[in-house]
């Protein structure tokens, strides 16, 4: 119910000359105000840390299609912070080829951290990262399990003048079209996946195949599909169709039904996380793996694999090929040390997402120590062209031109007879670094430039 109050309308005066002048003056004063506040703070770069502690921002998906990866990333970050502060068994700090990290924090400052939820959504991720930078004084932002988010947050960090150490992001664009001077990626990319997978697919499935792509509809999916098409078509495969599916769709049955009618005999699932678990499970339920098409056994390929996804998909992943950045069953010293300390703390082996996030944190801390400065430009310079070993992937180079790490890539297959709930993938081949290294002028990586580093402030 609304009670009409006549008096209010009677009392109200209309626009008078005096009123207009007054409101004009108020507006003018308001407009003039912000110009007073242009002075910037005195420090040389954004969020210069105090003498006792330094704050890192861990921005990971805690909800949404990639939440499993996010939870594992957070575990890895907490472990890395513990190790940097001298707790635990030191993990990969003992096997890392650079020996400047002492377990006394970073440059003698205790490492503290804040966490945020990216919700696997660019808007939310940027809001979360901004609040970490503006409110909590984070000097470095890291994390993310989606390339869309990584690219959005990387751009924000460039503008704000802090370092972004990308977490799990696999799209070429992160260090291609959308690369930024303040952003660094340890994870591999779809170009490397394509290069590593193609010879294995050729050896197992032959050169006369018809492929059907289901692709997550965002930067990573597009990039993954492009790389897979390039390399499979090079070896004689035909691409029958490719269909874009929304991220977090949940139900993929309407996308999978047409696959068998299309005459394709390979389904390439350019999906990740919960999406891949659902689409693969449904594809198997629809009888795709049992089908015979064109006189050949129908096959499914998942270009980017992870143990977390393998666990979600259960039985369905047996015999399926994919590529991965790292796997806990690797037997080098770095991997063993990491699996041991992660397993001791949490009771199960780490995923590739956890590995890359842990390594990125260590690499950042190491670069600060070597540069003897938290200034993002100095840290960036220390990371550029840095050659290191002992972090689980063999000898690795942080290429200066695009801030991408170059290292071995693993081709894996869903294990037929797993011995435990974690032993789900077997390593088919370790593709050496030389094979997956692409030139800086590769056409898939054009259209962007690093720009110059921004220290903010």
């Amino acid at each position: 119910m609304v009670v009409i109050q006549r008096e209010e309308y009677m009392k109200k005066s209309n626009l008078t000359r005096r009123g207009v002048l007054r409101s004009g003056a108020a507006l003018g004063a308001g407009l003039a105000m912000p110009t007073i506040f242009t002075a910037s703070s005195v420090s040389a770069f954004t969020n210069a840390p105090g003498d006792s502690s330094v704050t890192l921002g861990f921005n990971v998906p805690q909800t949404g299609a990639y939440a499993d990866e996010g939870a594992d990333e957070l575990r890895a970050y907490e472990l890395a912070v513990e190790h940097l502060n001298g707790g635990g068994d030191g993990g990969m700090m003992g096997t890392f080829s650079s020996k400047v990290l002492q377990g006394n924090g970073i440059l003698g400052r205790k490492v503290e951290y804040v966490t945020g939820d990216t919700q696997t959504n660019s808007d939310a991720a940027r809001a979360s990262a901004r609040s970490m930078i503006e409110k909590d004084g984070a000097i470095m932002i890291t994390g993310g399990s989606s390339s869309g988010v990584a690219i959005a947050v990387q751009g924000l960090c460039q503008d704000a003048g802090v370092i972004f150490m990308a977490g799990l992001t696999h799209s070429n664009d992160t260090t291609g079209k959308d690369r930024r001077a303040n952003g660094f990626r340890h994870f591999f990319n779809t170009e490397m996946s394509g290069r590593a997978l193609a010879p294995i697919l050729k050896a197992n499935y032959g050169t006369d195949r018809k492929a059907y792509h289901l692709t997550a509809d965002y930067t990573w999916g597009w990039s993954q599909e492009k790389s897979m098409r390039t390399y499979t078509e090079d070896m004689g495969w035909e691409t029958v169709n490719s269909v874009l599916t929304p991220v977090g769709a949940g139900d993929f049955s309407s996308y999978i039904t047409p696959v068998l009618q299309s005459g394709a005999d390979v389904l390439i699932l350019n999906h990740y996380g919960g999406d891949m678990v659902n689409s693969l499970t449904q594809a198997v339920q629809f009888g795709l793996r049992a089908a015979q098409v064109n006189g050949k056994q129908f096959e499914i390929v998942v270009p980017l694999f992870s143990r977390l996804m393998a666990r979600g998909a259960g039985e369905n992943i047996k015999g399926i090929f994919g590529s991965t950045n790292w796997h806990w069953s690797l037997q080098d010293e770095g991997s063993k040390a990491f699996v041991k300390s992660f397993g001791t703390k949490y009771g199960f082996p780490p995923s590739q997402a956890a590995h890359t996030c842990y390594v990125q944190t260590l690499l950042y801390a190491d670069a600060v120590e070597r540069a003897q400065s938290f200034n993002p430009c100095d840290v960036g310079a220390a990371l550029e062209g840095f050659e290191f070993d002992g972090l689980g992937n063999g000898p690795t180079l942080y290429r200066a031109e695009d801030h991408q790490c170059f290292k071995d890539v693993l081709v894996v297959k869903g294990k037929e007879n797993p011995t435990s709930e974690f032993d789900l993938l077997e390593i088919v081949e370790v593709t050496p670094r030389e094979t997956v290294t692409y030139p800086i002028d590769h056409p898939d990586f054009q259209g962007g430039s690093l720009g110059s580093c921004n220290p903010g402030a």
Binding site: G30, F37, K135, G148, G155, L244, P246, V247, G447
Partner: protein, 402 residues
């Protein structure tokens, strides 16, 4: 003054003071204290308070006055955002054209959607707007990828034309949004003893737009046009029987609130030049409904309070993780500490939705008029003895959510 009644002018003055001094008011705790967690006076969140305040005030012009519950207002927020980023990409990094074009585009968009949706009322209207908004979201998410860049979100790039001020800034990095040279991210930090306050240029630009928007809303509420909208809410059939065509009025209200949403979208991208499709999703439309009802639908200040309330929860409560909880209760014995953390865990961090949901339920059950009614009840507690008649009159002023 300013064409407002004394009471409205006081309200406006209070809002002006609150907005101007928000960087101080919202940072009541010293930086190093344990309570600093609850400080909200940092630019990103303060900008959000104002931007969503504008969004909710605009929504309230439609919902609070005409009673038409639109479930698709996020579409206008998104349309405004995309229009704004495109202006940054094509024209100039000045925020003014971006904001103006965002309003115009959202306005045109709302004319189209409103023209169709307003042919029905009640639940059918809500469903129609929801359908349109979800359609826009789906389009932005996949079909219109060349315009919206899909899931990745539309962002600036170095090879945008930007005809007025060139593609890149001098050092080869991306340019930032400015207001005639004043960068939106420029801040002025003041440290007073243990307290730190940040005065941000972008915030004050938002503040000006928000105050203008709030002023316009007051004028609309108190105008004959506003009265007509209220009449539509009370009994649209009776209006029709008296020979009045109500549709032009509802359409005008719809377009005005759409333009408010567009303004909010334009401001959002001016503060952070990225537009994602999630901005159009139905959860965003639902959020503004929650804000308005939580604060008090049909009241002037209610939507602003509701917006602030929800954004505070989203940004502050979601950042309290187990680590922070353990820090707070570290003085307790280990067992008790773990037990308390275990109890609180579902309500903080990613569980902030749960806390907000509970509070929302409490408000709707016990304070149907929203936070504004809470304020009025407290006010009445103190003034009852003096002026019982006035108090009774006050209570009829609040319009409960329907």
């Amino acid at each position: 003054m300013l064409g407002l009644t004394g009471k409205d002018f006081t309200l406006f003055l209070i809002v002006v003071v609150m907005v101007v001094f928000a960087p101080i008011i919202l940072n009541p705790f010293p930086v190093d204290s344990a309570m600093a967690q609850f400080n909200a006076g940092y630019p990103d969140l303060m900008q959000r308070f104002l931007i969503f305040g504008i969004f909710a005030v605009g929504f309230n012009i439609l919902f609070g006055l005409t009673g038409y519950l639109s479930f698709g207002h996020a579409a206008f927020l998104g349309a405004g955002s995309y229009a704004g980023v495109w202006m940054f990409k094509l024209l100039s990094m000045n925020v003014l054209p971006a904001i103006l074009v965002a309003m115009v585009v959202a306005g045109l968009f709302s004319v189209v959607i409103g023209y169709v949706s307003l042919r029905r009322s009640g639940i059918y209207f809500s469903i129609l707007t929801l359908a349109f908004a979800q359609m826009s979201y789906a389009l932005a998410y996949s079909v219109l990828t060349p315009i919206t860049n899909g899931e990745t979100g539309l962002q600036l790039s170095l090879n945008d034309p930007r005809v007025l001020d060139g593609a890149a800034s001098a050092d080869g990095s991306l340019p930032v949004p400015t207001f005639f040279g004043l960068e939106m991210r420029d801040s002025w930090d003041v440290t007073l003893g243990g307290w730190a306050f940040t005065f941000n240029a972008g915030y004050y630009l938002c503040a000006i737009f928000m105050l203008v928007a709030f002023y316009v809303a007051i004028r609309i509420f108190r105008s004959p046009f506003g009265m007509m909208l209220r009449a539509i809410k009370s009994n649209q059939q009776r209006m029709n029987y008296t020979g009045l065509n109500t549709r032009p009025y509802t359409l005008a209200a719809f377009v005005i609130s759409g333009m408010f949403a567009g303004l909010a979208g334009g401001l959002m991208v001016s503060m952070d030049p990225l537009a994602g499709a999630e901005r159009m999703q139905w959860t965003r439309s639902g959020e503004v409904v929650l804000m308005t009802i939580l604060g008090g639908a049909g009241t002037l200040i209610g939507p602003v309070l509701g917006a602030g309330f929800i954004k505070y929860f989203e940004n502050i409560f979601s950042k309290i993780n187990d680590n922070v909880l353990h820090g707070w209760f570290a003085f307790l014995p280990d067992g008790l500490e773990n037990a308390i953390v275990w109890i609180l865990h579902p309500f903080v961090g990613k569980g902030w939705h749960l806390t907000l949901g509970l509070l929302f339920m409490l408000v709707v059950i016990f304070l149907p008029g929203g936070l504004v009614e809470a304020g009025q009840r407290i006010g009445r507690l103190f003034s009852r003895k003096k002026k019982p008649a006035d108090a009774a009159q006050k209570s009829t002023q609040s319009t409960p959510a329907e």
